[in-house]
Symmetry: C2
Subunit: 224 residues, 2 copies
DNA sequence: TTCTAAATGATAGTAATACTATCTTATTAA
DNA sequence: TTAATAAGATAGTATTACTATCATTTAGAA
């Protein structure tokens, strides 16, 4: 049996659904590669079009602008991660074990997932680390939020917050701790690889150290 | 007695030192205002020049490009914050009290500091929250780091890390916890004001709740 | 199978951005 | 007083971020 994971995306993220055509899938695939290679700032629809072998106008039929495309990619990532969290915490009773699994899913790089052939999840993870917060760190954040563009992120945050509450129903900051874990899983990774003085992991580039740090941080906070 | 605080900035941050001329100070003052008003993405040297009443070329004599100017502003902010940390933790013996003061300095909005007339510190704080991480979240981060452009941030992180170690010399992650406090002081503020579902502070916009959250996070982690 | 609508390709064009260059005038320090 | 230095004025270029139009291909319904 071959599984195909299809993530339902908010219609406001795009002008034409990129999942429903070859060109659309190419746009996602190649934009992830290009952003990973050169960074979001130097990423343009022109370069993307050349990369794909189509024209700028072709891209604009799918996405209003490159920021919307970034939000799309980021939203896709968070949806996919929430799916993985669901799968990996499913039959587990102990919320502490659940939370440990979640931390690993957040902090450990993934292997490419065959189920979604037009997305390369391992480089996607790298992109989210460097570019993810740019999706919301803008003047338009409230407007975009009103259009529910950040729903996948908020859903994931809520889900992890619930697991935290399962561990300790009296803990006062489940959502803030949840967003802290999510952000720090990525930022500590970025720091480890690029500004190691901001971490205690040196240049080991060993993600399991981030996991250990986050576990200590989280469980000392929420223990009853 | 009138005090004038002069922060010595890394020479590589600029082409011509903006602190040493009227035009330079205007560039800093007005760029902070403009970035605050419209966001970094829509900020251009042309608009800045018009705002000041000079020409684009004039700005380019001080800063290579707008990203360098952002790094300058961010670096200035971290230097200034480290100075404030030094002042406010000076004669304090108890490292726990010190660390609490630091958390407040990080998380509570400042009033404009008369000592540095050409910088508006309160809106600067707002800018750093929204735009601060864009200074290093780029493809050039290693290059910029080699030029020591992030030294003020790293110095502050080290300083807070040392206070953490004073609280508990055996704590294993002083620097990572330090960078976590710094980043979360800002991110939780941004979330509270723009994406409140990611926090437990609602739309109260009450910074003291962020302080309470961070204190609980930090002190439960480092307690012996 | 044919018709029709939708998607794509090809091309052009515009305003703004991100610079660089040059020349002149004002300021200031030796 | 002169000689450097900073600033102002102006111009120009390549790239970016779009929008518009028309032709061609493709896919689905009649």
């Amino acid at each position: 049996m071959e599984l195909h994971l299809q993530i339902k995306m908010n219609e406001k993220l795009f002008l034409r659904n990129p999942e429903q055509s070859d060109l659309g899938k190419k746009i996602i695939l190649h934009s992830i590669q290009l952003i990973h290679k050169n960074g979001f700032e130097s990423f343009t629809f022109k370069k993307l079009a050349e990369d794909i072998g189509t024209t700028e106008a072709g891209i604009y039929r799918y996405f209003e602008n490159k920021h919307r495309l970034l939000i799309y990619i980021v939203a896709w990532y968070w949806s996919w991660l929430e799916y993985r969290v669901t799968v990996h915490t499913n039959n587990i009773k102990d919320p502490v074990v659940k939370l440990k699994r979640v931390i690993k899913l957040l902090a450990i790089a993934v292997e490419d997932d065959v189920k979604t052939s037009y997305v390369n999840e391992s480089i996607l993870h790298q992109i989210i680390i460097t570019e993810g917060s740019k999706a919301y760190l803008t003047k338009k954040v409230s407007e975009d939020n009103r259009d529910h563009l950040f729903k996948p992120y908020k859903d994931l945050c809520a889900k992890i917050g619930d697991i935290i509450l399962e561990c300790n129903p009296k803990y006062k900051y489940p959502k803030s701790l949840s967003s802290t874990i999510i952000e720090m899983a990525h930022f500590q990774n970025f720091f480890m690889n690029n500004l190691p003085a901001l971490t205690d992991f040196g240049k080991t580039k060993d993600e399991s150290k981030i996991v250990a740090f986050l576990e200590e941080l989280v469980f000392s906070s929420i223990k009853k």
